[in-house]
């Protein structure tokens, strides 16, 4: 029992985090930056930060993750990181030759007060930024927010640095997919294309972090949104942002900067949230929903119909990121399951309000926490066990100790594959989630059934 130390009695903690349910802003910024074509993320801080982010992303995606670092030393932290960053920009353009360098800060460079735009300006004045190349940045102190807000910040920076309004609207919609898997970004694009809508999707990590085996190591894989496309977002008809926390800031920035109106929606996980996404897209673009998409919707509904007795009343514990959990909780409630423990490591009261509202009619007391940790979640589960848990790989300790069925969902997933190839958004993603839920629940039922109740047809 690895977690044998977790006591059942819950005491408020103000100083100590045990087994975190979040990580720091810079890794989110790095992930978002990888969704720009030909972009090299750059970590302005110590070498370790960059190494840890690359390792974690590598473990999650099983892909090479390229990012550079300012390699801070004692000297740079006394005299400031300007010299390191200017040199880094010079080195990166001369050897790796990316289209864009996307700089994010760290707790170290934030605290010593490095002014990135000013340093970038100096690099430009010194002729270190070649014609047609770009340096963008976001401030991501690790002691604020979480990996999700870091992602949101870098996505907003794409707007701040690139979006321009030429005065001539073009017939396209901006889609900000949120902090989701490359497979999800791909699926969102597929849905948009099924509707026949012209779209710019940003960031877009598909074909960057789920790239095929080609026998080559590409420093800059094929995928990612191009700078050209990012510039054009300022002329789009509208923006649809998926996930309020991860995509909201970029959508609002586009509205402010280029007067592109935005709709900020929840992530399209599950039937209703996907309906809302598709309906919004249909309305904005003035298109009609093709029959093929209706079929997918009907298939998802068909699975729920066929198996609704299996979902009835099942209690669930969820750990993850706010945008995902809001939609997932709604989906689970809508199929008659009972999410009774819902926890995110990312701080923010809004999350708790949303989950309370979504679970209002769940006939059980529901624990909700933003800014919590896995230790607290484990205590909840000890006090009120559940039929199923969903969350990142770190939930496996609790699943094992408490012998509770567990589905991997979210970030990071360090011990399974599939998440980078198969989506959980859209109707198809919903079908995949249901398959996982049913497999997991029925597998358990089979395992535990006494011989006389062990059934062939379920």
């Amino acid at each position: 029992m690895l977690l044998r130390h977790t006591p059942k009695e819950i005491a408020e903690r103000s100083a100590l985090t045990v087994n975190p349910a979040k990580t720091c802003q810079p890794i989110g910024a790095m992930y978002a930056a990888l969704g720009i074509h030909g972009c090299l993320p750059h970590s302005h801080g110590s070498q370790g930060c960059c190494a840890y982010h690359r390792s974690t992303l590598s473990r999650h995606y099983k892909e090479p993750v390229m990012a550079a670092t300012s390699s801070f030393t004692e000297g740079s932290s006394v005299f400031g990181g300007q010299a390191n960053l200017v040199q880094a920009i010079d080195n990166i353009f001369s050897v790796y030759n990316p289209e864009v360098i996307a700089i994010h800060t760290t707790c170290l460079s934030e605290t010593i007060g490095d002014d990135i735009p000013q340093i970038a300006k100096k690099a430009l004045a010194d002729g270190k930024i070649p014609e047609g190349k770009h340096v963008i940045h976001v401030n991501t102190p690790s002691y604020v927010g979480s990996h999700v807000t870091g992602f949101a910040g870098m996505t907003k920076s794409m707007v701040d640095y690139f979006a321009v309004s030429t005065g001539t609207k073009c017939n396209q919609v901006n889609i900000i997919p949120g902090y989701v898997e490359p497979s999800d970004m791909e699926e969102i694009r597929r849905i948009v294309e099924m509707l026949g809508v012209q779209a710019v999707l940003f960031p877009d990590t598909s074909r960057v972090l789920n790239s095929p085996q080609t026998g080559r190591h590409e420093m800059f894989p094929k995928g990612g949104v191009t700078v050209e496309a990012l510039k054009s977002t300022g002329d789009s008809m509208a923006t649809i942002a998926l996930g309020r926390l991860a995509s909201g800031p970029a959508a609002r920035a586009l509205d402010t900067k280029c007067k592109v109106p935005c709709e900020i929606l929840d992530l399209p996980i599950g039937l209703r949230k996907t309906d809302v996404f598709i309906d919004t897209l249909r309305r904005i673009a003035g298109v009609s929903v093709p029959e093929s998409l209706n079929v997918e919707r009907g298939q998802l509904l068909d699975i729920v119909t066929d198996m609704h007795h299996c979902f009835y009343g099942k209690t669930v514990g969820l750990v993850g990121d706010p945008d995902q959990l809001i939609s997932l909780t709604e989906f689970l409630v809508s199929i008659d399951m009972r999410p009774i423990h819902v926890l995110t490591g990312t701080p923010g009261k809004e999350f708790e309000n949303r989950i309370r509202e979504i679970t209002r009619d769940v006939p059980r007391s529901v624990n909700v926490r933003a800014g919590g940790d896995m230790f607290l979640f484990h205590q909840w589960v000890k006090n009120d066990p559940v039929d199923l848990m969903m969350g990142n790989t770190y939930l496996k300790y609790i699943a094992r100790d408490e012998d509770i069925p567990f589905i991997r969902f979210g970030f990071p997933i360090l011990d399974r594959v599939g998440h980078s190839y198969f989506p959980t958004v859209g109707y198809r993603g919903g079908m995949r989630l249901l398959e996982k839920i049913l497999d997991t629940l029925l597998e358990r039922q089979d395992r535990d059934a006494p011989e006389e109740r062990f059934e062939l047809v379920m």
């Binding site: 985090t17 720091c24 070498q47 930060c49 670092t69 932290s77 690790s142 604020v144 026998g215």
Partner: protein
């Protein structure tokens, strides 16, 4: 060479050497070039990997959440008992703590942890930010230690204060504070401490068993499956046996200076080095126990009798294949070069993140003509070397694995993520098996790298056929 020229920074040219080109010189032990996609980590990382396996201590990371998240149970350092080290504890510093200081938070976190877990000691890791805001880690640790009656040890591991090696040093300094405190009563005159073994996949248990068979008592594991009480009496051991020189050599030196404990530098990887390590320890104790050499010889003979026939099977399949090595510390590379030789394989690239000049000199001496020796490399360089040398397997860590796989090259994790013990005689067999399983995998038949290097492969039927023919594994 044109490809290589385009991927190598001018400043790094003297950190790469091709054996046979010119007299050997190596630029190393220098700060990484800003902007390079370096594979290196930081001071904190170095301290964390060394101390982490001490299983009955709490390890509290004082800093923002990331440093704790990224190091939560990522290293398979097994414990035979307590598993406190596999939990993640952090003060999760927030903006207000950065402004007003985090000492009070640290104090409260420590008290709560110690009250709940009653650990044998607590290690408190300093991170970048703590170094900047100036929290007095020493004072807080001393206060808690006084109040709770257990050692509370600050680890000065601010990320920017050097590289991983500085982190090893900080870890050694923290551990050294424990030493000389426990009773040494009852320790055998034939006794050792095992330094620099982290019990990945249970390796230290294999080594302890060898020493037990030789009649030698192991006092303290430093740090794999480590216990605070053992480390407190480690100064009572007759000899320190030090593996992975970078990580714990400083501790061996401190112990020698203070307690007069002599040390031997060893390696448990590969047959030659494993046997020589046991013989070296036996020679050390020869005067105290003349029979020890016979016991050691018998042990080695017995192990080899089992090992050799099975190794030959792998050797037949692997003969002539090419290997590349890029590891954290250079010391490990020496053993790997020899281990590959034993399998009939040739090492064509050998590099490390933090090797010293002497390390590279030794690498130079034991490698073949044409071998590339490299310090603090990066993915672009590494992939260009792998392609140029057309290697069959790459040995490295987590960041290197996907590069190898993308290129269609086999891989063996000789770092945190090894799943089978690679130390000891049995470890050599596991290593051979692992190399074999990857080098000979049928998957490479579908990855026609040899004939399509530099071209864009298109997935046509003819290409699949051509690929299969070109890699008749």
């Amino acid at each position: 060479m044109s490809l290589e020229q385009s991927v190598i920074f001018d400043e790094r040219k003297d950190q790469i050497h091709r054996k046979g080109d010119a007299p050997f010189t190596m630029g190393c032990n220098r700060e990484s070039l800003a902007g390079a996609v370096s594979q290196r980590a930081c001071v904190f990382c170095g301290s964390r990997v060394v101390l982490y396996p001490i299983a009955d201590a709490v390890h509290l990371v004082h800093g923002p959440i990331g440093c704790a998240s990224y190091t939560w149970d990522i290293r398979g350092a097994l414990s035979s008992g307590p598993a406190l080290h596999r939990l993640s504890f952090s003060t999760d510093l927030q903006e207000k703590d950065v402004i007003f200081g985090g000492e009070e938070k640290l104090y409260k976190a420590l008290v709560e942890l110690i009250d709940r877990h009653a650990p044998a000691a607590a290690f408190v890791y300093s991170t970048c930010i703590v170094g900047i805001i100036g929290d007095d880690l020493n004072a807080v640790c001393a206060r808690v230690s006084r109040e709770k009656g257990i050692p509370v040890l600050p680890v000065q591991s601010e990320g920017f204060k050097g590289n991983k090696r500085s982190g090893y040093h900080a870890a050694c300094k923290a551990m050294f504070q424990l030493m000389g405190k426990g009773s040494t009563e009852g320790i055998s005159p034939l006794s050792v401490n095992l330094l620099g073994d982290f019990n990945l996949a249970g390796e230290i248990w294999i080594i302890r068993e060898y020493f037990r068979q030789m009649g030698i008592e192991t006092v303290a594991n430093i740090t794999g499956d480590g216990r605070v009480a053992d480390i407190r009496r480690a100064h009572g051991a007759a000899l320190n046996v030090v593996q992975c020189s970078g990580a714990t050599m400083d501790l061996a030196k401190m112990m020698q200076e203070t307690f007069g404990t002599p040390f031997l530098r060893v390696s448990y990887f590969g047959v030659e080095d494993m046997a020589e390590s046991l013989y070296a320890v036996a020679r050390f104790f020869l005067q105290r126990d003349p029979a020890i050499m016979d016991r050691t010889r018998a042990l080695v003979r017995e192990e080899l009798a089992v090992l050799y026939p099975r190794l030959q099977e792998y050797r037949r399949a692997l003969e002539g294949k090419k290997a590349a090595i890029y590891v954290g510390g250079a010391f490990k590379a020496f053993s790997l070069v020899k281990a590959f030789r034993l399998l009939g394989m040739q090492v064509v690239l050998a590099g490390s993140q933090t090797g010293t000049e002497e390390d590279y000199q030794e690498l130079y001496e034991i490698t073949d003509e044409g071998t590339i020796i490299v310090d603090d490399s990066n993915p672009l360089e590494l992939s260009s070397f792998l392609k140029e040398k057309d290697v069959d397997i790459f040995v490295g860590g987590v960041k290197e694995r996907p590069i190898a796989y993308k290129l269609g090259v086999g891989f063996c994790d000789h770092n945190h993520e090894r799943k089978e013990p690679l130390e000891g005689f049995v470890g050599m067999l596991n290593f051979a098996k692992e190399v074999h399983s990857s080098v000979m995998s049928p998957v490479w038949r579908f990855v026609p790298r040899s004939i399509h290097r530099g071209k864009e492969p298109a997935f046509t039927e003819s290409l699949f056929k051509a690929g299969a023919e070109c890699r008749p594994n």
